[in-house]
Symmetry: C2
Subunit: 502 residues, 2 copies
């Protein structure tokens, strides 16, 4: 290894160990921590994050990144050094652009907004939340200014989650997509026929967990390097490449909640477990963007998990696990049930097709807020109008409208678009995988998942952050981010499922 690399690695190790340990504090908080420990745990997380931030913004690190960057530009063939220099420079700049006092002010405002959001949602009173949200929006405008941008303040925030992507690109992409999607959704909603009914039955929770565990193990989740636990909100978290954990929640009266939730989190986990071990304890040992991460969860949840072949593969197992609930449900009926398209008001309950309309609604409102075309006070009405326009449904109260998500209270502006970007990427990758390795549906039917998983490992996972999302897409599919493969996938799949032209 090169000298500048040798010199900087111990610094990377410290930062990596601290941030992964903070993640353990957070995981434990959601999964096992006793209630009374909330305050002390908050202190511990803050301490770990703040020490990590000190290391991540230290002069010593800056100097060593400088040495590494110099070495990398003189040795462009040293892939590891080049990637590390690029990513470490980006991280350092991002970490140092926000003054510590500003970070503290923002954290406080967001923490306050989170609390009032909970109360406002419970009591369905947006007014309780409005001022705190306005403060968070103002501070996030300031944050965008501090981070800097060329075109649009929103770009600075989007870049935190989806590096180098711009609001203008997202707008173009989403507008094209939306006009088509609204028509597709309207067509499918007209055909509503109660096909999801078989899933709204009693499914013994322990058996749901056991079946889910068996299925994700068969797909390739490595339980010697990971775990599955319960929590009130499902998530995936990583403590090292050899320790990736997912959580699920179980709805005893609705099968897809735990099962597809688990496939989703497993998709995230397979990405993390598939990163080249050589990148461990460096800034490269992570997903390259939230969109790319979401592409992996969506790919396994939807393109695989809701495919006809996969359903036929798991159907016998599910029938023997739930003989009562599924006694009269054929594989075909099950397949139709898990792919029922029904516009609804709540994003997290949305199906694969309508989900993106929920995202677009939020993106448009975010951009309008940051362009000062919309005030926080006007948000509820604007939300409801868009909901009616896109989904054909108008929320009857703010709890099922503008108050449904926690993201804005947490200052997560720029985050929502990555959900749809992940969907689009997943279709781009899936299409190319099918072209490379043959009839995937046939493979799923036979319970063969390793060809696809190996392909993803080879083309996406192993790189971690050493290649950008854009570079991965272009290398693999010869094209940047585009909606065409996803739209084609949706048209074909749902035309078949609903026996209609789309």
């Amino acid at each position: 290894m090169s000298e500048p690399l040798d010199a900087i690695l111990p610094l990377f190790h410290r930062i990596s160990d601290l941030t992964h340990t903070a993640a353990l504090l957070e995981w434990d908080q959601e999964v096992w921590m006793p209630d009374s420990a909330a305050a002390s745990r908050a202190h511990q997380i803050a301490t770990l994050r703040s020490i990590a931030h000190e290391f991540a913004t230290s002069d010593e690190l800056a100097a060593k990144i400088g040495d590494l960057a110099e070495y990398a530009s003189a040795n462009p063939e040293d892939d590891l050094a080049v990637s590390l220099a690029r990513v470490a420079t980006r991280d350092f700049q991002q970490a140092t652009k926000l003054p510590t006092s500003f970070v503290a002010t923002l954290a406080e405002a967001e923490s306050l907004a989170k609390s009032t959001w909970r109360v406002a949602r419970e009591s369905d009173q947006f007014a309780l939340f409005q001022d705190d949200l306005a403060r968070v929006v103002d501070l996030n405008r300031e944050k965008a200014a501090l981070l800097g941008f060329d075109e649009h303040p929103y770009d600075a925030l989007l870049d935190l989650y989806e590096p180098d992507l711009r609001a203008s690109q997202v707008s173009t992409l989403f507008e094209a997509l939306r006009s088509e999607l609204v028509v597709i959704v309207a067509t499918l909603s007209g055909l509503a026929d109660g096909r999801a009914a078989p899933l709204h039955r009693y499914f013994e929770p322990d058996v749901q967990l056991e079946v889910g565990r068996r299925v994700v193990e068969k797909i390739g989740f490595d339980f010697t390097a990971g775990r599955q636990d319960l929590s009130s909100h499902p998530f995936c978290t990583t403590f090292s490449i050899t320790d990736v954990r997912v959580t699920t929640r179980v709805d005893e009266n609705f099968f897809p909640s735990a099962f597809y939730g688990l496939l989703h989190e497993m998709g995230h986990a397979l990405y993390e477990q598939g990163i080249n071990p050589r990148l461990e304890r460096t800034p490269l040992a992570d997903g390259t963007s939230l969109g790319m991460h979401e592409s992996q969860s969506r790919l396994w949840e939807n393109q695989v998990g809701r495919s006809r072949g996969f359903v036929e593969h798991v159907h016998p197992q599910l029938c023997s696990a739930f003989p009562e609930a599924l006694s009269t449900v054929s594989a075909g009926e099950f397949h139709r049930a898990v792919n029922a398209v029904t516009p609804s008001l709540i994003r997290v309950e949305a199906d694969e097709v309508t989900y993106n309309l929920h995202v677009m609604l939020r993106f448009e409102l975010e951009v309008a807020l940051f362009e000062d075309r919309l005030s926080v006070a006007e948000l509820p009405e604007a939300w409801n109008d868009l909901s009616e326009a896109y989904l054909g449904l108008r929320p009857s109260n703010d709890a099922e409208g503008v108050l449904q998500d926690i993201h804005w209270a947490m200052g997560g502006f720029g985050y929502f678009p990555t959900y749809t970007i992940g969907n689009l990427m997943s279709a781009q990758l899936f299409k190319k995988a099918a072209a490379d390795i043959g009839d995937l549906d046939e493979q799923f039917r036979a319970g063969q998942f390793s060809p696809l998983l190996d392909w993803l490992r080879e083309n996406v996972h192993r790189f971690g952050r050493s290649r950008s999302a854009d570079s991965i897409l272009r290398t693999v599919t010869d094209q940047g981010l585009t909606a065409a493969p996803w739209l084609a996938y949706i048209r074909k799949k749902y035309a078949d499922l609903y026996g209609t032209d789309l």
Copy 2:
């Protein structure tokens, strides 16, 4: 609050948060961590511990401890400042006396010795372990010299676990105790009558856990500020005063393993949960010594858990939980069974009476090693000789002799005596508690544990490290560490149980 205290608290908070987070990494490693994560977890623990060590030995901390000590000596009425100054000075001196390079050398030697100890014990070959142990002993001699001592090198190590106690005091105490104990044990062994048999039956593991949980909750373990989980070796660990966790292991064919193991760990946990919340995130929020900590675990495990009153209280619950195993076992038989005295070779399986002989054997060998009266090569033979002299049993191999404990491989010289010291302290405290609050056995029979727990909270727990073990004992019992109450307790209890003079 005073200015020097205000100034030093943020430094204490950081160190406390880091060490408690390291404890979470270790807890998770024993309880949930997937196997493949061992190496990355070791890195994370080392990183957290080393950052904590940097903070704990920093010039900034030294300066602020100096200011605090100055303020404390001018304001002797400020209890908190005085205690903090004393304990922080002690911790700082201990942390800085060992050069970082020496700490690393020692850690490496101990890590190596731990590995070879495992192999040696598996294959019953002390020779495989001998050289690595000799190296650990040599380095611990060096450690004692670096730490400094007045009388005996062993004092420097003992002081790490039992502040201010000296080897000469322990020797005097143990010698007096041993001569009496050897006779008591010989008498009781002559009366062996298979009274433990009722406990060697099948007890459904899940029911064991459920019963144990109910009992410790009734006693006063706060499950909103703690947890109980499974691990291969039972332990208690603390992440904050509001998050104290115990682990147990279950032997489905031997009831006391989980049940009394849990009472023992619960005793440790009650101590930690009972520390004054005002001391949170300072060096005072911990047990004051290992002996005092062990006194709390032993008190609940033995003085309470193996008392006639307690057994009569839990007997109906146990009978309804294990109707088959206990159908013909009366409370009296159960009481005799959990108090069977049988000399055995393995310390961790020893009963309340013989246990201390195992400890004394180890203490004598440790002192002989540190006085150069004994070489590591001579250890196995010396062990077996003492075992025969004290317990009347000679190990037939080293796995049931000198290789049975991991402590020496880990460099834990000076640790073993605290087990017996804890037993002695528990009897001193229990005697005074009974004098203060009446017939404890009657209270246990009625399921009343709060008078005793409240008394311990008031007289021991709440102080944390702000009072030394010696000061607590003298304040509460008007006497320092002494064996008389424990011996009296043993004589009385076992004379009754065995119907013999002792």
